[in-house]
């Protein structure tokens, strides 16, 4: 290493050190704000917030897969469903405290993800999209099946009895659930940022942009792809579990083909390649749009999704986060997304 490059490295380290406290301050403030909302928001609003954060977690994972690693999935609703049903079965059949169910759901999800991912990852581009498209369509029919109804409650689904936090905390049910969701959200934000900014992120971007060169440089492409996939599945399962808890109900009809499309929409509209803000904005989009449109126009949310997706692809492929990109860039330095 020449003196020149050492100087540059030192300069980079210095600048990064300078911006890190600022970034950390930003994240810390955001986390506190989320926590504070527990006291400010009530009932239904807390439920909405829980939903948004749950979907945001799922979107974070899917974003890693699609934005950073460039693989297309139209079927992650299946893993969301697996997470949701695992959590429900844990609560309903085994009485597991709800706050722990995402951990179990995540683990089960990862196993499923590994099983499905092994063959699926050998596919590329449109072919992977088609295979996952099939997965999304097949999911509700499997869930509805009588074969598993003893566990899944069949078509009727399962109503969840969720116990709030112990009395001494004086938190009601919505608040307890919300806090748990925030906890997992903060955890996943941390995890996502670390993965994306570290060597993993670089490997993912390299394999996305130029797999041949990446391989030539020594990146293990298969491992990078698998990691991205597994993480996305983990995130979706956890998100699904949290959402099931928030809604306190699961049924096959909660996980239609359109769920996978919604997750896809959240990532694309929120902004591919923005690790945190994109998924969050996307989650807000897919939770609030149906909320606002379904009363006036049944099925209208799909129209909004469709129109917005096409518009964003035409105007600003980096999504809502991309549109906000310049403000973020000024607040904190971060590696090129």
């Amino acid at each position: 290493m020449t003196t020149e490059s050492t100087d540059i490295t030192q300069a980079l380290r210095a600048s990064r050190k300078a911006s890190v406290p600022l970034a950390r301050l930003g994240y810390g403030t955001a986390a506190l704000a989320l926590l504070a909302a527990t006291g400010v928001l009530e009932g239904y609003e807390l439920f909405l917030a829980s939903s948004i954060l749950s979907y945001a977690i799922a979107a974070m994972g899917l974003n890693v897969l699609m934005g950073y690693n460039g693989q297309i999935s139209l079927g992650h609703g299946a893993f969301f469903a697996i997470g949701a049903y695992t959590a429900s079965i844990c609560i309903d059949h085994f009485g597991v405290p709800f706050a722990w169910t995402p951990v179990i759901a995540g683990t089960v999800g990862m196993v499923a993800g590994w099983l499905i991912g092994k063959p699926a990852l050998r596919l590329e581009g449109v072919y992977l999209a088609l295979a996952t498209f099939g997965l999304a369509i097949a999911t509700p029919t499997v869930l509805r099946s009588d074969l598993f109804s003893e566990w899944t409650g069949g078509v009727q689904g399962i109503f969840l009895q969720i116990n709030p936090a112990p009395d001494w905390t004086s938190l009601d049910l919505d608040q307890s659930i919300y806090l748990a969701v925030v906890g997992y959200f903060v955890l996943f934000s941390f995890l996502t940022l670390r993965l994306v900014r570290g060597l993993n992120g670089k490997a993912w971007i390299a394999t996305r942009d130029n797999p041949i060169a990446a391989r030539a440089m020594g990146f293990d492409i298969t491992r990078a792809k698998t990691r991205a996939f597994v993480f996305s599945v983990l995130a979706c399962s956890v998100g699904g579990a949290l959402q099931a808890v928030a809604v306190q109900f699961v049924a096959p009809d909660s996980f239609p083909f359109f769920l996978s499309i919604s997750l896809f929409t959240a990532v694309v509209v929120g902004g591919l390649c923005s690790p945190l803000i994109g998924p969050l904005l996307g989650a807000v989009f897919i939770v609030l749009v149906p909320n606002m449109t379904e009363e006036i126009w049944q099925g209208g949310s799909w129209a909004v999704y469709g129109g917005v997706i096409i518009a964003i692809m035409a105007i600003q492929p980096r999504g809502l986060a991309g549109m906000l990109g310049w403000t973020w860039n000024k607040l904190a330095t971060h590696t090129n997304d």
């Binding site: 699609m66 460039g70 297309i72 139209l74 063959p119 699926a120 050998r122 596919l123 590329e124 581009g125 449109v126 072919y127 999209a129 088609l130 295979a131 498209f133 099939g134 997965l135 369509i137 097949a138 029919t141 499997v142 509805r144 099946s145 009588d146 074969l147 041949i212 083909f257 499309i261 896809f264 929409t265 694309v268 591919l272 126009w297 049944q298 099925g299 209208g300 799909w302 129209a303 999704y305 469709g306 129109g307 917005v308 997706i309 096409i310 692809m313 035409a314 492929p317």
Partner: protein, 293 residues
């Protein structure tokens, strides 16, 4: 034995529908390199148009012909306005656009015609025909089989023996060379979409009497058509049609003979898709569309 034959004919009948939808997918894929995820929704939209015409008093066959014509034109407009601008975009953007198209067409159908399930008249008479001994088949099933067979034959003839068909095949094979021999590729692409939509409309009006008409009608047929197209080879019209027929028969057999078969039809289609993509992505008759490195 009779039961088997009955299921076989039913399977071939739905297979015929999957075959022409698979053909539509292949036509667009071959000429543009895109998989039209919205093919099913477009077919459903066309069927709704036919339904409206029937409600207005048009009898079924003229309604179908008119619908095919309208679908043809509508698809050309769609291709020019929505898809053409993204022609050179990369995979993820394209998939997103097709998903967007899927959602838009679906919702538009729901918005115009609402989500209530509607009955749809068969193009053929009601009732059944007794083919032999115990074997009774619904007229519609048989009619559908013959209709889709006719469509497949007509399309085959068009591509094989007409000048325009040759031009379309050329455009599907090689854009640059096509222009060098004087073919307007841009027009060919639009034509490909138009044709695909036309035959999709026929598929729709054959399915609707059986499954009843609602915006969600196109989802399952699409996945079966996709499985068939991949099985036979997404670059081979003949292969795709054959694949569609096989999938139809497979679906009927599984539904009839395998416990819980009916519930798992889509899952089996998915398994089929995965297997084909993993083992022989080009399908039985297709060839690799080489990806630019």
């Amino acid at each position: 034995m009779t039961f088997f034959l009955e299921q076989l004919i039913i399977g071939l009948s739905s297979g015929g529908i999957y075959a022409i939808m698979a053909l539509a997918l292949v036509m667009i894929y071959k000429s543009t390199g895109h998989v039209n995820l919205a093919q099913g929704e477009m077919a459903v939209f066309s069927t709704f148009i036919a339904w409206t015409l029937v409600q207005m008093g048009v009898s079924i066959w003229p309604a179908i012909l008119l619908t095919v014509a309208v679908s043809f034109i509508g698809a050309i407009v769609l291709e020019r306005v929505v898809i053409r601008p993204f022609a050179k975009a990369d995979d993820l953007v394209l998939v997103a656009v097709f998903v967007g198209l899927f959602l838009s067409v679906h919702s538009l159908a729901g918005a115009i015609w609402n989500y209530e399930v509607k009955p749809f008249p068969s193009a053929f008479s009601d009732g059944s025909i007794n083919l032999m001994a115990d074997l009774s088949i619904r007229v519609h099933t048989l009619g559908s089989l013959l209709a889709t067979g006719a469509v497949l034959t007509a399309v085959w003839f068009f591509f094989r023996y007409t000048r325009l068909g040759l031009a379309l095949r050329a455009a599907a094979d090689n854009h640059v060379s096509s222009r060098l021999v004087g073919i307007n590729v841009s027009v060919m692409l639009a034509l490909g979409w138009g044709l695909a939509a036309g035959i999709g409309a026929v598929a729709g009006v054959m399915i609707a009497p059986v499954t009843f008409l609602d915006p969600g009608m196109g989802l399952a047929p699409l996945i079966f058509a996709l499985a068939g197209a991949l099985l036979g080879g997404i670059t081979s019209p003949f292969g795709a049609a054959l694949g569609g027929l096989i999938v139809g028969v497979l679906e009927a057999m599984v539904s009839a003979y395998v416990p819980y078969g009916i519930e798992f039809r889509e899952l089996i289609a998915l398994m089929l898709i995965l297997s084909v993509l993993l083992v022989r992505p080009a399908g039985f008759f297709g060839e690799f569309m080489t990806r630019r490195v």
